[in-house]
C-alpha cells in the first residue's frame, strides 16, 4: 500500500514543481516521437482488426486502415448467426459469476486469516499459498475426470468450478486487510455487530480499491480463459467466446472479415471497459502486481 500511495502524489507533484519551463530539448522531442510511433505500432493489430470487421468482403485485401465504405453488415451477420450471441452470453455469465465468487470468498478468507486468531491459521494460510505453485495444466486431467464422473462436462458449473476461489486473490485481500485498523473491528464488536456484519459492513468498504483490482483481474482472466473451457465443453452452444473463435480452425476456410468481426466482438468489451476506467485499472494492475 505504501508503494502504491507514493505513486500518485509524487507524479502530480512532479508535474507542478519540477522545472517550470525548460527550453525545448531536442532529445525530448525525439523521445516523444519514438514512444508515439512505438505506441501506434502496439495498437496496429487492434486497429486492423476493427477496420477489417467494418469492411465489405471485396475490400478486405486492399489493406487500407480506413474502409472506403464502412459497414456494420459483418456484425449483424455474425450476431444473427446465433453462435456468437450464445458464446458472448456464456462468457459474460461465467466471467461475472466467477468474479462475484472470487470477490466474496477471497476477501472472506483473506479477512479471516488476517483478523482472526485461531489454531490452524498459519497452516491454512501456507496451504492456500502453496497452491499458487501448482500449474493449472497439472490439474486439468483430474478436473476432467471429476467432471466426467459427476456429469459436469458441458455445463456452466463445469466451466466455472475450478476458478471460484483463487490463492492469488486470497493473498491480495489478506495484504489489504492488514491496512484496516483492528480498532475499527473492535469498536464494531462492542456495538454488537456479529462477525459477518463486521466483515461486510465495516471491513469490506475499507478495501474497495483492492476489491475492484481483484474483480478486474478475475474478470479479464475468465473472459479470455481458453484451455479449461476448451476441454470441458463439447457442444457448440456451451462454448465461451475464445473456444468458439478457436473452433473456426483452418485459415483456408475462413472469411477474414467475419473472423475479425468475431475477434472484435470478443475484444471490444474489455477494451471499452479499459478506456472508461483507465487510471483505475492501471492502479489496480500495479496494486495486484506488487502485492500479489
Amino acid at each position: 500500500m505504501a508503494v502504491v500511495e507514493e505513486i500518485r502524489p509524487s507524479s502530480d507533484a512532479l508535474l507542478k514543481t519540477r522545472q517550470p519551463k525548460r527550453p525545448a530539448n531536442m532529445g525530448n522531442y525525439i523521445r516523444w516521437l519514438l514512444l508515439f510511433f512505438g505506441g501506434i505500432a502496439m495498437v496496429t493489430p487492434l486497429a486492423y482488426m476493427i477496420s477489417t470487421s467494418l469492411k465489405w468482403p471485396h475490400e478486405v485485401y486492399n489493406l487500407q486502415l480506413i474502409p472506403n465504405e464502412p459497414t456494420i453488415e459483418n456484425y449483424t451477420y455474425v450476431l444473427e448467426d446465433g453462435r456468437f450471441y450464445w458464446w458472448f452470453l456464456n462468457s459474460l455469465i461465467i466471467a461475472t459469476i466467477t468474479t462475484v465468487c472470487n470477490v466474496i470468498f477471497d476477501s472472506l478468507v483473506g479477512y479471516t486469516l488476517c483478523k482472526f486468531r485461531f489454531p490452524g491459521r498459519y497452516i491454512i494460510f501456507i496451504a492456500i499459498l502453496s497452491t499458487l505453485m501448482i500449474p493449472t495444466e497439472m490439474l486439468v486431467i483430474p478436473w476432467y475426470l471429476m467432471s466426467q464422473q459427476f456429469g459436469w462436462l458441458d455445463t456452466y458449473w463445469g466451466i466455472m468450478f475450478p476458478g471460484l476461489m483463487t490463492a492469488f486473490g486470497t493473498f491480495l485481500m489478506k495484504q489489504f486487510f492488514e491496512t484496516v485498523p483492528d480498532d475499527f473491528i473492535e469498536a464494531a464488536r462492542i456495538d454488537g455487530l456479529n462477525e459477518l456484519q463486521i466483515w461486510w459492513t465495516v471491513a469490506m468498504p475499507l478495501v474497495k480499491p483492492a476489491l475492484a483490482a481483484l474483480a478486474i483481474f478475475v474478470f479479464l482472466g475468465n473472459w479470455t480463459a481458453f484451455i479449461w473451457p476448451l476441454i470441458v465443453t463439447n457442444s457448440v452452444d456451451m462454448y465461451t467466446l475464445p473456444v468458439g473463435l478457436s473452433s473456426f480452425g483452418d485459415e483456408a476456410d475462413v472469411q477474414w472479415e467475419l473472423i475479425m468481426t468475431g475477434a472484435a466482438i470478443s475484444t471490444l468489451p474489455t477494451l471499452v471497459v479499459f478506456l472508461i476506467f483507465q487510471r483505475f485499472i492501471i492502479r489496480g494492475v500495479v496494486m495486484a502486481g506488487l502485492k500479489g
Binding site: 485461531f118 486431467i141 468475431g262 470478443s266
Partner: protein, 297 residues
C-alpha cells in the same frame, strides 16, 4: 444457541473463523489438493479412460525420456522461455524508462502500450495469423512485397514459426510489464537522482548504479512472472497452428500442448499426467533458480 453464548470471546472467534473457512477449506481440498495428488498418482498408471487402470510404476516417465517428440517439445518450451523473457524484459524496461520521463500526453501513450494486455489470446492469434498470410492476404508479406523483399513463410517454416508464434505473446504481455516497471521507477526516491546530479554523474552511470540496482525487486518479479507465462505457453501456439497444432513438424509445440494432445486427443491419461508432473518440476526449478540468482546479485 445457549452453547454458543457460554463460549469465551476467544472461543467464539474460533467458531466464526472456521465457519467462514468451511467452504473454502472444502474447495481447496477437493479442487486443488486432491487433484494434485491424483495427477501424481495417475502418472504412475496406464489408463486410456475406458479400460482398467493398471499400475505401471515409472513406465510413463521412462517412456517420456525415450520419446524424441518430448525432447523436441522440451527444447521448444525453453526456446520460448529464453527468447521471450529477455526480449520482453528489455523492451518493456526501455519503454518504461522513457515513458517515465515523458510528461506530454503521458496517459495517452501509456494507454497505447497497455491496450494489447486487455485482449484475448485467441482473438489476437487470428489477427496475427492474418498478418502472417502469404501475399494477397497478409499484411507483413504485402509490406515486404511493396519494397521488393521476397516473401517470408512465417508460420509454414520450421525455423520461422516459433518466433512468429512468440511475437504476439510478447506483444500482449508488454503493457503489463511496462506498468509494473513504471511503478518500480516511481518508487525510487528522487533524492538519489538529485545527489547524483550534484555530483555530476552521467546518465549511463546513473542508470547502472542507481536505477537498475534499486529496481531489482521489480526485475525479479517480472522475470519470474513472465518466465512462468512462457513456460506455460499454449493459447497462442494452439490457435496459430490450428491445422496442425504445434506444427510444422512439432517445431512450435510446447509442453502444455503436448499434454493437451496426449490427454484429450489420444486419451493416454497416465502418460499425460507424467508430462504434467514434469511441467510442474520445470516450473519449480526454473523459478527457484531465478530467485536464487537474482536475489544474490
Amino acid at each position: 444457541m445457549d452453547l454458543y453464548r457460554n463460549l469465551t470471546i476467544r472461543q467464539k472467534q474460533i467458531v466464526w473463523a472456521y465457519a467462514f473457512l468451511a467452504l473454502p477449506i472444502l474447495f481447496y481440498s477437493v479442487i486443488r489438493f486432491y487433484p494434485t495428488g491424483n495427477a501424481i498418482l495417475i502418472s504412475f498408471q496406464d489408463w486410456n479412460l475406458l479400460g482398467a487402470r493398471t499400475w505401471t510404476g515409472l513406465d510413463n516417465y521412462v517412456k517420456l525420456l525415450g520419446d524424441p517428440v518430448f525432447w523436441q517439445v522440451f527444447r521448444n518450451t525453453f526456446v520460448y522461455l529464453l527468447l521471450g523473457t529477455p526480449i520482453s524484459l528489455v523492451i518493456s524496461f526501455i519503454i518504461a524508462y522513457h515513458l517515465d520521463k515523458t510528461r506530454f500526453m503521458h496517459g495517452f501513450l501509456r494507454m497505447l502500450y497497455f491496450l494489447p494486455f486487455m485482449t484475448s489470446a485467441v482473438a489476437m492469434a487470428w489477427v496475427w495469423r492474418w498478418f502472417y498470410q502469404p501475399v494477397p492476404i497478409g499484411l507483413f508479406n504485402n509490406a515486404l512485397a511493396s519494397i521488393g523483399i521476397p516473401q517470408i513463410a512465417f508460420l509454414n517454416s520450421t525455423t520461422n514459426a516459433l518466433p512468429s508464434v512468440l511475437a504476439p505473446a510478447v506483444w500482449a504481455g508488454l503493457g503489463f510489464q511496462i506498468i509494473i516497471f513504471m511503478a518500480g521507477l516511481r518508487a525510487i526516491p528522487r533524492s538519489y537522482y538529485e545527489a547524483a546530479k550534484i555530483d555530476g554523474v552521467g546518465w549511463w552511470t546513473v542508470l547502472w548504479e542507481i536505477t537498475i540496482p534499486l529496481l531489482k525487486p521489480t526485475i525479479v518479479f517480472i522475470v519470474v512472472f513472465s518466465s512462468i507465462g512462457f513456460l506455460r505457453i499454449f493459447d497462442h501456439v494452439f490457435n496459430m497452428t490450428t491445422n496442425n497444432p504445434g506444427g510444422p513438424l512439432n517445431s512450435t509445440k510446447p509442453l502444455v500442448l503436448m499434454i493437451y494432445e496426449t490427454a484429450f486427443d489420444s486419451f493416454d491419461m497416465g502418460y499425460a499426467a507424467a508430462q504434467t508432473v514434469v511441467l510442474f518440476l520445470v516450473l519449480l526449478v526454473v523459478s527457484l533458480i531465478q530467485l536464487r540468482i537474482l536475489r544474490d546479485r
